[in-house]
C-alpha cells in the first residue's frame, strides 16, 4: 500500500505546528491590539448629537466655567448634563432663531427631554464618583483632556481599567491644587519661584527649604495635604461593589 503521507507533507506538518502556535499568539496580540485601538474604543470619534454643541466655543472662546452647566460635579457622583433650561439662560437672549438650537427650544417650550448620545460610558459595575475626584485635586482635564479644544465632543480616553489604576496607584502624577481643577490650561509651575507663588496663593503648607521642583514632588505634597490614602486607592472595593 502506498504511503499516505509523502515527503512534502513533513514540511506542511512543521509549518502547521509552528504556524498554529504563531496564529494563537497572533490572534491574542492582534485581538488585544484591535480592542485597544481607537477604531474599537471610539476614542476621538464624536457620536451624532441632536445639537452640535461645542465645548471649545463655550469654554475656550466664551470662558464659561465647567460648573455653570455641570453644576452637580462637586456634590454628586454624576457631573450631570445640564437641563435645557440652563442652555436657555443665554439662548433665550442670543442666537434665538438659530435653527441649530431648535431642539433645545423645543425641549424647553414643550417640556420634553432632550436626548443626547452618551460619549463616555463606564460599565455598571464601576462606581465612579466625580465629587470625590474634583474635590481632591483631580482635574476635569485628567480624564477629559482636550475637551476645551473639541468642537464636537468625543471620548479622549478609552477608560480602560489599566488607565484608571495607573492614576489610582500614582495620583501624584495628576494631582493639582483644588482651585485649579476646573482650569483646563493649568500647567505645573516650571520654576521654584512660580511653585512657591502658587503654594502661597492657595495656602498650601510646604517646607521652604524643600520647595517642590516638578509635578511628582508637588503631587507628593498635595497627596499628603489632601489626606489621600494612596495605598487604599487601588482596593477593589473603592470602585467595585
Amino acid at each position: 500500500m502506498a504511503q499516505v503521507f509523502r515527503r512534502p507533507h513533513n514540511t506542511i506538518a512543521r509549518v502547521a505546528v509552528v504556524g498554529g502556535l504563531l496564529a494563537i499568539v497572533g490572534l491574542a496580540v492582534g485581538g488585544s491590539a484591535i480592542t485597544r485601538s481607537p477604531w474599537w474604543t471610539k476614542v476621538g470619534e464624536p457620536p451624532d448629537q441632536p445639537v452640535p454643541f461645542s465645548h471649545k466655543h463655550h469654554y475656550e472662546e466664551l470662558g464659561i466655567d465647567c460648573r455653570y452647566c455641570h453644576w452637580s460635579v462637586t456634590q454628586s457622583a454624576h457631573a450631570g448634563v445640564p437641563s435645557t433650561e440652563v442652555c436657555m439662560t443665554c439662548h433665550s437672549q442670543i442666537w434665538t432663531n438659530s435653527p441649530l438650537l431648535q431642539p433645545v427650544r423645543d425641549s424647553y417650550n414643550n417640556n420634553t427631554p432632550l436626548v443626547w448620545n452618551k460619549v463616555n460610558n463606564l460599565p455598571d459595575f464601576v462606581y465612579f464618583d466625580h465629587s470625590a475626584h474634583v474635590n481632591k485635586g483631580i482635574s476635569c482635564a485628567s480624564c477629559h483632556s482636550g475637551i476645551e479644544k473639541m468642537h464636537l465632543t468625543y471620548k479622549s480616553q478609552p477608560f480602560a481599567m489599566q488607565w484608571c489604576l495607573d492614576c489610582h496607584r500614582n495620583p501624584e502624577k495628576n494631582i493639582r491644587p483644588k482651585e485649579e481643577v476646573f482650569n483646563m490650561y493649568y500647567k505645573t509651575p516650571r520654576t521654584q519661584e512660580e511653585m512657591k507663588a502658587m503654594l502661597d496663593k492657595y495656602g498650601i503648607p510646604y517646607d521652604p527649604n524643600n520647595i517642590p521642583r516638578n509635578q511628582l514632588e508637588l503631587g507628593k505634597l498635595l497627596v499628603k495635604h489632601y489626606n489621600i490614602h494612596k495605598e487604599q486607592l487601588s482596593d477593589c472595593s473603592i470602585c467595585h461593589r
Partner: protein, 1042 residues
C-alpha cells in the same frame, strides 16, 4: 433511634438545629458531611453527560469572547427644567408611613432619581423609633409588583373611570330616594382620618347607608376586654421600659401585635447586658406554639390556648386580685407550678410588672388580666390606656356578620368595597361570602389586585399604592403621619380610596388637596400657623399632638365580675380524638395581603424557618400519635436531596368544614393542638402568591375566629414538599482534631450563659465554647492587622467591624429583608430554596437546647464575618475576593468566574452562588426597584455580605469632601438600621470611642469558630438568659455545666 433520642433529651446538653439533628438521623449526617449539600445534584436527569460536556466545551471556547463586545453608549437625557429639590445622583429621603399589623409605621423612603428604592425607619415616629419590621421593609416591592391591577374592569373587561363614574352615579341616584338604604360600604380598618371623614360625609348624604369595617386580624377581644374591665373600649399601650417582669399569655407583642417594633426596642432596653451590669428584665411566656416572643422568653410554658384563662385565673387567685369568674378546666402539675412561681414573681414586682394577653384570647381573659394589672399597681406605670386609634372603632367579626346577614336578606343593592378588602378570601368560612357577593346587583371592588373578591364584582377599580399619592394614617397610639408620595403614579388609572370616596361625594380632587383640606377643617393648627405646622408635620412624618391622650382608668367594679363565657369549647365526643386549632396571622404574609410579595414569601419564617408555605404545626408527640411519623427511621423526609422531601398531608374537619394541610412537627408546641397560619392558599393573589400553602380561612368561623376545638385530624396518603431552611448552611460542631475536646464533645457555635453565671464570671470562661480559645496561634508571619490606633492622625485608617448581641435579638428577621432590599438580592423560588440555593446574604441561625417538649431557643444572625485571615481569599484562582485596607473582605463580581472554591472554604457558609440568572426580571417595572449603588449579579457569580460597602463608600466620600473623619454612627448598615432591638452595632473598631469598640471590649464578646483563627470582624456577645431558678433555671444551669 428511640434510645439515642431519649439519651440526648435526658442530658439536654447540646444544641440542635432541627428534629433530625436531635435524633441524629443518617439523613442529617449526610447533609452535614457532604461537600456540597444538595447543590451538586440537580442537573440529574435532564442533561446527559455527553450533552453536558458538549455545552461545557462550547462555553469554555466562547468564554473569552464574552468580554470583548463593546457596548453601545446609550442615551443621556437633558431635563427641560432643572429640579430645585434634588441633585442628580443624590438620593432624597421623604417621611411617609405604611400600614403594618394594621396601623401606621413611620418610614423614610429613599428616592433616587424619582424612584423609591429603600425604606428606613423614621426615628421620630412612635412605632418605628428608627427601625422597621420585615413586612415594612418588603412593602416597597409591592409598589413595583407587576401583578398590580392597572385598569378599571367591568365584569373582567377593561373600562374607564368615566364609565364607572356614570354607572355609579346612576346606581346611587336610584338609592337617593330611600336614603341609601341599599348601600353598604365595606372597608378594612380605617386609620385614615381624611378617608373616615369622606365616608361620614357620604353617610350624611345617604343616611340609611351603612359602613362596615372588617379585618381578619383585629382587636375585637382587646377592646371588649377593656369594656368588661373599665366600661369602655380602650387601647392598652405598654410601657415596657418600666417593666421588670413581663408575663405574655398567648401574646406575640414583640412581633405581630400593633406597636411591636416599638415594644421590641423597649423590651430590649431592659436586657442589654454590659460589663458590670447585673440587672435584666425577665419574660415569661405561655403559648401553644413558639412565636418570636416565645423564642425570646426566659421562661416559657407550652400550653393550649384554651387553657390560658385557667392559668391566668390561677395566678389572679393566688395573688388575691379582685376578680371573679367561672373558669373551667384544670392545670397539670407543671402548669400549676408555673402559675405559682410567676404569681410570686409578680407579687415581688408590684408596679414594675406587666401581664399581657394576646389578641386571640377572648375578652374575659383580657378583663382578668386588667384586674390583675390593676391589683399589682401596674396601671399607669407599665400599661396605659387610650381611646382606640381607629376613626370608628368597631367589632370586626360582628360587622362582617352583619354584612353577611344584609346580603343574605337581599338588603344590599350597592356594595362598595374599598382599599383592597377581600372578604371572598378572608371572611370566616361559615359566612360564605363567595356565594353572597354575586347576589348584589351593583358591587364595586377597589384594590391593588384583581383578587378573589374582585372577580365576583360588577366593577373592579385599581388602587394606587400609598407611595403614589397623599394620605394620612394613624399609628397604634393615634399619632398621625401624612403619607407623602414617593413616586409619580406608575399606572395612570389608579386611585386611592380617598379619591374614590371624594368622587362618590361629588367633590373629586387631588389627594394632596383632599388631605390638606381635611386637616384645615380639623383645625390642626390656627389658620395663621397652619402652613408652618403642616410643613413641619409632613417633613417630620409626625403631626404634632395627634396621639390619643392617655386616660385615667379604674376597674368599673371591685371585685370585677367576669360573666361572659370564656371559650366556646366543642363537646367531647366519645371515641373520637379531637384537637384544638389556634389561628394566627402568618409571620410574613400576615393575613394574606402580602401573599404576592416574593421577599416575604422567601423570608424563612422567624420560628419555623420554612418559606413559601404555611403548615399545620403541632408537637412531635401529637405528630407521632397521629401516626404521621414513618416507621423504622426518623425519615421525616424521604431523601437528603429534599427535592422529593415532604410532609404528610392531613385533613382537618369540624362541623362539616374541612381543609387539607400538610402537618409539620415543631419543637416546643403544646400537645393536642395545632397552629394554623392565615394568609395562604390564595387563588388570585398574583403570579407568586397564588397556589402557595393552604387556605386556613376555610376552618375559621365568625364565632370562634381564633381558637377552634373539636377538630378531627385524618391523615392522608399524600405528601407535600416543604422548603425548610433550618438545615441549610450547616456547620459541623464536632471539631475533629480539636485537642481541647474529646471526639464526642461539641464546641457549640453560640456561647450562652445564665444571668447568674454572667454575674460571677462575665467572660463565661468555663463554657465548652471557650475551651482552648485563649490559645494564641503561633505564626511565623507578622501580624497583618493591627488594632492600635494609628499614631499619625493623618494616616488614620478605619477598621470596620460589627458586634451582634443575641441576648436582645428576637429573630424577627427585619434585618434579612432589609439586607435583601438594600443589596438587590434576588428571589429564587420554592424549588430552588429546597435545593439550598436561597440567596439571602444574612441568615438567622436558630438553635434549640433541651427537651423537644419545651426547648430553649437561641438566635444568631449570620452575615459575612469579614475574616481578617479570610479562608475564602486563599483559594480564589482569580483574586475575585480580596481584602481592602479597611478590613473588608471585598467581593469583585465582575472578576468572579464561579469556581465556588471560596464558598467551599468558608467556615461560616455565608457565600451565595447564582446558579441561574436569578436577578433577571422579565417585568421592566421591577428594574426601578434596584439599588443603583449595588451591582446586579449575573449567573455564575458568587456573592455575599459586604458590610454594605456602598454605604461606607458614600460616607467616606462625603467625609473626604469635608476633609474630616467618618463619625461614629455615620455608616449604618441596612441590617443595623432595620433592627428593632438594636442588636447589631457596626462601626470603626480603631476608634476607641466608637460603640462597636466598646462592644468589642465586653467580657462576653466572642467569635464564632474563633479557634480557626480566621479572626472574624463580626463578633457576638454571649446570649444571656435570665430564667427563674425555681422553674427551668436550675435545670438550665445544670445543663450548661457539662
Amino acid at each position: 433511634m428511640e434510645a439515642t433520642r431519649k439519651e440526648t433529651q435526658g442530658a439536654g446538653e447540646s444544641f440542635w438545629r432541627s428534629l433530625s439533628e436531635l435524633e441524629q438521623s443518617p439523613e442529617f449526617e449526610e447533609i452535614l458531611q457532604r461537600e456540597f449539600p444538595r447543590q451538586a445534584s440537580p442537573l440529574g436527569d435532564f442533561v446527559s453527560r455527553r450533552q453536558f460536556l458538549k455545552l461545557m466545551g462550547a462555553s469554555m471556547a466562547l468564554a473569552g469572547l464574552s468580554a470583548c463586545g463593546y457596548k453601545p453608549q446609550g442615551p443621556v437625557i437633558s431635563r427641560p427644567k432643572t429640579p430645585t429639590d434634588r441633585t442628580v445622583g443624590v438620593s432624597n429621603y421623604y417621611a411617609t408611613a405604611v400600614l403594618t399589623n394594621g396601623y401606621a409605621i413611620g418610614v423614610l423612603g429613599r428616592v433616587y432619581e424619582g424612584r423609591p428604592v429603600k425604606l428606613e425607619g423614621n426615628p421620630d415616629h412612635p412605632t418605628s423609633l428608627g427601625a422597621t419590621d420585615a413586612i415594612t421593609q418588603a412593602q416597597i416591592l409591592d409598589l413595583y409588583d407587576p401583578d398590580r391591577s392597572q385598569t378599571v374592569l367591568r365584569f373582567g373587561r377593561p373600562e374607564t373611570w368615566r364609565a364607572f363614574d356614570a354607572d355609579v352615579q346612576n346606581a346611587l341616584g336610584q338609592q337617593a330616594a330611600k336614603g341609601g338604604a341599599g348601600i353598604r360600604i365595606l372597608t378594612g380598618r380605617v386609620v385614615s382620618p381624611s378617608l373616615a371623614a369622606q365616608i361620614q360625609k357620604f353617610l350624611q348624604t345617604y343616611p340609611q347607608a351603612k359602613w362596615y369595617q372588617y379585618e381578619p386580624v383585629n382587636r375585637d377581644n382587646v377592646y371588649e376586654g377593656a369594656r368588661i374591665a373599665f366600661g369602655e373600649w380602650l387601647n392598652p399601650i405598654y410601657r415596657l421600659r418600666n417593666a421588670k417582669v413581663i408575663v405574655a399569655l398567648d401574646s406575640d407583642f414583640l412581633y405581630t401585635e400593633p406597636g411591636a417594633v416599638r415594644y421590641a426596642r423597649e423590651f430590649a432596653d431592659g436586657r442589654r447586658l454590659r460589663a458590670g451590669q447585673t440587672e435584666m428584665n425577665r419574660l415569661y411566656v405561655a403559648e401553644p406554639m413558639f412565636t418570636v416572643t416565645g423564642m425570646t422568653a426566659d421562661e416559657r410554658l407550652p400550653i393550649r390556648s384554651s387553657k390560658i384563662a385557667r392559668l391566668l385565673y390561677e395566678m389572679a387567685t393566688l395573688l388575691g386580685a379582685p376578680v371573679q369568674a367561672t373558669v373551667e378546666g384544670d392545670l397539670t402539675n407543671t402548669e400549676q407550678k408555673w402559675a405559682q412561681v410567676v404569681a410570686s414573681e409578680l407579687a415581688a414586682h408590684k408596679g414594675e410588672s406587666l401581664v399581657i394577653v394576646g389578641e386571640a384570647q377572648p375578652p374575659a381573659v383580657h378583663a382578668i388580666a386588667h384586674a390583675l394589672n390593676a391589683h399589682l399597681g401596674n396601671l399607669g406605670k407599665t400599661v396605659v390606656f387610650t381611646a382606640p386609634p381607629e376613626e370608628k372603632p368597631v367589632l370586626h367579626m360582628q360587622q362582617i356578620k352583619q354584612l353577611a346577614d344584609d346580603l343574605k336578606n337581599n338588603a344590599v343593592e350597592v356594595l362598595i368595597m374599598l382599599g383592597g378588602v377581600n372578604p371572598a378570601y378572608n371572611a370566616p368560612a361559615d359566612l360564605n361570602f363567595k356565594d353572597l357577593i354575586p347576589k348584589v346587583p351593583f358591587s364595586v371592588h377597589h384594590g391593588m389586585y384583581v383578587d378573589e373578591t374582585a372577580v365576583l364584582c360588577t366593577w373592579h377599580l385599581p388602587e394606587s399604592h400609598p407611595f403614589e399619592a397623599w394620605g394620612d394614617v394613624r399609628a397604634f397610639d393615634g399619632t398621625v403621619t401624612i403619607q407623602q408620595p414617593l413616586i409619580f403614579p406608575l399606572y395612570p388609572n389608579t386611585r386611592t380610596a380617598l379619591e374614590v370616596m371624594a368622587q362618590l361625594n361629588g367633590a373629586p380632587g387631588e389627594t394632596f388637596k383632599l388631605v390638606q383640606d381635611h386637616w384645615k377643617q380639623a383645625k390642626l393648627a390656627p389658620d395663621a400657623q397652619f402652613d408652618g405646622v403642616w410643613r413641619k408635620g409632613v417633613h417630620d412624618g409626625v403631626l404634632p399632638r395627634t396621639a390619643k391622650p392617655i386616660k385615667q382608668v379604674a376597674l368599673k367594679q371591685t371585685p370585677l365580675i367576669v360573666q361572659s363565657p370564656i371559650y366556646e369549647l366543642a363537646p367531647v365526643q366519645a371515641g373520637v380524638k379531637t384537637y384544638e386549632v389556634r389561628f394566627a396571622p402568618d409571620p410574613t404574609v400576615y393575613d394574606g395581603r402580602f401573599a404576592n410579595n416574593a421577599w416575604l414569601q422567601e423570608l424563612p419564617k422567624p420560628v419555623t424557618r420554612v418559606c413559601w408555605d404555611n403548615l399545620a404545626y403541632m408537637s412531635l408527640k401529637t405528630f407521632e400519635n397521629l401516626g404521621l411519623r414513618r416507621k423504622g427511621t426518623w425519615a421525616f423526609f424521604e431523601d437528603a436531596s429534599f427535592v422529593k422531601g415532604d410532609a404528610p398531608i392531613v385533613t382537618l374537619s369540624v362541623n362539616g368544614q374541612a381543609m387539607r394541610v400538610a402537618a409539620y412537627p415543631i419543637p416546643g408546641h403544646a400537645d393536642d393542638c395545632i397552629t394554623l397560619h392565615l394568609g395562604y392558599g390564595r387563588t388570585r393573589a398574583g403570579e407568586k402568591g397564588s397556589g402557595t400553602g393552604f387556605n386556613t380561612y376555610l376552618l375559621r368561623t365568625s364565632d370562634s375566629p381564633w381558637i377552634r376545638t373539636g377538630v378531627e385530624v385524618i391523615p392522608q396518603a399524600e405528601r407535600y414538599p416543604v422548603a425548610r431552611t433550618e438545615e441549610h448552611h450547616l456547620i459541623d460542631t464536632r471539631q475533629k482534631g480539636d485537642i481541647h475536646l474529646d471526639s464526642t464533645q461539641h464546641r457549640p457555635i453560640i456561647l450562652t450563659g445564665l444571668l447568674e453565671e454572667f454575674k460571677q464570671d462575665p467572660e463565661l470562661k468555663n463554657k465548652p465554647h471557650r475551651k482552648g480559645y485563649e490559645r494564641k496561634h503561633p505564626s511565623m508571619y507578622p501580624e497583618r492587622w493591627t488594632y492600635d490606633r494609628y499614631e499619625n492622625p493623618d494616616n488614620y485608617r478605619y477598621a470596620w467591624a460589627m458586634v451582634i448581641d443575641p441576648t436582645v435579638c428576637t429573630g424577627c428577621s427585619a434585618c434579612v429583608t432589609a439586607c435583601q432590599a438594600e443589596n438587590n438580592i434576588p428571589v429564587v423560588g420554592k424549588e430552588e430554596v429546597m435545593r439550598g440555593r436561597e440567596m439571602l446574604w444574612l441568615r438567622i441561625d436558630r438553635y434549640f437546647k433541651g427537651k423537644v417538649e419545651n426547648p430553649r431557643v437561641y438566635q444568631m444572625p449570620i452575615p459575612c464575618m469579614q475574616c481578617e485571615n479570610a479562608p475564602c481569599e486563599l483559594v480564589c484562582p482569580v483574586a475575585a475576593t480580596v481584602h481592602d485596607h479597611e478590613g473588608l473582605n471585598a467581593m469583585v463580581y465582575n472578576r468572579c468566574v464561579g469556581t465556588r472554591y471560596c464558598s467551599n472554604n468558608c467556615p461560616y457558609k455565608v457565600r451565595r452562588f447564582n446558579y441561574y440568572r436569578y436577578s433577571y426580571m422579565k417585568s421592566p417595572v421591577l428594574h426601578l426597584l434596584q439599588n443603583p449603588d449595588v451591582t446586579v449579579r449575573g449567573r455564575g457569580v458568587m456573592e455575599k455580605c459586604t458590610y454594605c460597602v456602598q454605604r461606607i463608600s458614600k460616607a467616606r466620600i462625603l467625609a473626604k469632601r469635608e476633609n474630616r473623619r467618618i463619625r461614629d454612627g455615620e455608616v449604618v448598615t441596612a441590617c443595623q438600621q432595620a433592627c428593632p432591638t438594636q442588636a447589631i452595632v457596626f462601626g470603626d473598631m480603631n476608634d476607641p470611642e466608637s460603640r462597636v469598640h466598646l462592644m468589642k471590649q465586653q467580657p462576653h464578646n466572642f467569635a464564632i469558630l474563633g479557634e480557626l483563627n480566621a479572626r472574624p470582624r463580626t463578633t457576638y456577645l454571649a446570649k444571656i438568659d435570665n430564667p427563674n431558678p425555681e422553674l427551668s433555671g436550675a435545670e438550665a444551669s445544670h445543663a450548661t455545666d457539662h
